[in-house]
Amino acid sequence: MVPSKRTSIAALLASSFLTLPVSAVAQDKILRIGMTAADIPRTLGQPDQGFEGNRFTGMTIYDSLTAWDLSKEDEASVVIPSLATSWEVNPEDTTKWTFVLRDDVTFHDGSPFNAEAVVWNVQKVLDEDAPHFDASQVGVTASRMPTLRSARVIDEFTVELTTSQPDSFLPINLTNLFMASPTHWQAKFEETGDAEAAWAAFAADPSGSGPFRVTAFSPRERLEMVPNENYWDPERTSTLDGVVLVPLPEANARTAALLSGQVDWIEAPAPDALAQIEARGFTIYSNPQPHVWPWQLSFAEDSPWLDRRVRHAANLCFDREELSILLGGYMGIPKGTVDPSHPWWGNPSFDIRYDLEEAQSLMTEAGFSADNPLRVKVQTSASGSGQMQPIPMNEYLQQALRECYFDVELDVIEWNTLFTNWRRGAMDESANGAHAINVTFATMDPFFAMVRFTSTQTFPPVSNNWGHFGNDEFDALIETARTTFDDDARDDALAALHARIVEEAPFVWVAHDAGPRAMSTRVTGVVQPRSWFIDIAPMGME
């Protein structure tokens, strides 16, 4: 039968229509990534959207003075030189640091990177009198390098940074300060005549020194980048044709985009679709992240957690392997805030494990039994960044801890409210009588991992020591760590602090997020480090 003209046109239209996604999956080497963010993270140098922002529009477009080593998947990620080749603190005045810079780096616009560029980038967030000061970049930057105050040019490739107090954590903090091109910003300023407009123009057409440069930007929809062929590090000069970032905040939408071939990589696939994703031939990468899913305990006067036996019992009373099954296996089993392979581990005497008998025995010693359970109230949220699956996880704990004579009440509130309450502390009205709070946190930096939860200087509302945990011993350990400037010695001091934290157990350590991401098998050279970050530059596509 010869098809009629009308039938042929219909067939042609149908075939072109129905094969679109297939044609979209052309065999080019463009890596398309579905992010969890609802918008493209800010591109002007200091990204928003938390660490996902740093991961996709920070470390790709820009470089920082120091960086995370993301080349290993079986060791903790540590700080390594990046735009700075070396650094040292001034022994006469330990608030002053000298950083020696690379002399072979240029920004995407062709202008050179040098000490003046570093000073300019410090001023953009710390010097309100600088013409390029940008309030919108201050929040996400200043809080991550709380002691940095100013920068000064020593010579073309040497710069001096000054802190408000001796602070050995500065090189770690500096991974968060990305270097934008002053020359490119000045050109935008001359075009627009206004600093705010210049930053908006810079964000639309950014210039850093990173392994990728931006070629097209459609806010809230996509960001297109191509490799920076003049990148200073040959090992991180990308062989891809390009990278496209697509915000896909809904987990099922991300999963469908991957399965239909619209993207090659998605962050955080829908948990109940993991089996289907694997069955369809995609690869799921995961590795425990520097992240803790805890109950942070109250040390207020009436808190049931004042007795260390009770704190230890709660840590021993539930089977984390079983909880991991609930989460599809994508969960790290914590032994403390950091894991035993980490330089800050410190070999604590208290071993966090599942030991029901020991937990029951401790609770009995503390005066509790099945007939006389200990009532504890925990404030948590139904969702939230880094919270994994808070309701099922907390309900699991509620059920498991009943075996050890805990009667757990959950107080579920909205995520942003919980986050705000975290800063107000256990003694504030907002705690609503809770004895623990369930807010997850990152542990890349020693201040955020340990210091803010254990120092008497960080009691609410100054910082996040919600439970008011701390004493002279911990303050002294922190002071030692902060003022020890040799890297290894500083890590030893932090290890001593970590060991004591685990032994005193101001937390119930429940899980580390394993950060699953799913990728097409076309993506090669993937190293999933033990980090919130991942390096796209060395990846390729078949």
Partner: protein, 316 residues
Amino acid sequence: MFGYTLRRIIYTLPVLLGVSVVCFALVHISPGDPLISILPADASIELQERMLVLYGFDRSYPEQFILWLGRALQGDLGTSIATGRPVTTEVMRAVANTLMLASVATVIGFVLGCFFGFVAGYFSNSPMDKAASAAAVFGVSVPHYWLGMVLVIIFSAQLGWLPASGAGPGGSSQWKFDMEHLSYMVLPAITMSVIPMGIIARTVRALVAEILAQEFVIGLRARGLSEFGVFVHVVKNAAPTALAVMGVQLGYLLGGSILIETVFSWPGTGMLLNSAIFQRDLPLLQGTILVLALFFVVLNLIVDVMQSALDPRIKR
């Protein structure tokens, strides 16, 4: 007609002022930190206070409102806290995307709704009525978030026929009315059309049944008018109400379905609102709500004027 239109425009002015007050008040009285999107919870108190001053949130509410309204009247809705981009640009881009999607969805919903409504009304209490009414009830009742996901699973994830999300291969800024781009609109438009389809079908069914029972229809038939001629009279009588319902539905859809646009990552007002709410981006939230309210008011105005053109009795 001119006087009626002018009167209707004047009536909208106090409504617009009320909308701006409510819009400002709603976003400011809700709990939470206005700088949460750019200030981590661990920021120092000094930094928090400094940022409040830099963004003007240390001023009194009336002062903030007057400043905001003054700028809004000049077309400047401020700058998004989270992105640093002008709110007016953000909102207008999203409105254009939603308008495109909502218009297609409304046309689908209107055509199908009228078809089902007329069939059900003309063949009242017959199996065809029951089938058409069932389709209308399905449209009104089905959770469109669920329907969207099911369509994506079937047509994108399983069959791979249609894209799962987005507004075209290069984003909405490179939108073209060709098959490749239109394929991105198929699933969200169908999903979005089911509610107006259901509502319009139910409205039209009731109208048609009521009109057919009126004496003038018996009179038309008694005078020997053809069934098509009667149908035309029924359509003319049902049109103003159906049009009003369509206008209201288009207004709702212009607000963008937060759920549908999120499921399909369609860069419209629904997704913008979703993002502004979660980031607690007050200028963006205020600007989006204000613009959508303005659209709703203007749309109602247009529908009122069109209704009065179709049925001059309304003017009286």
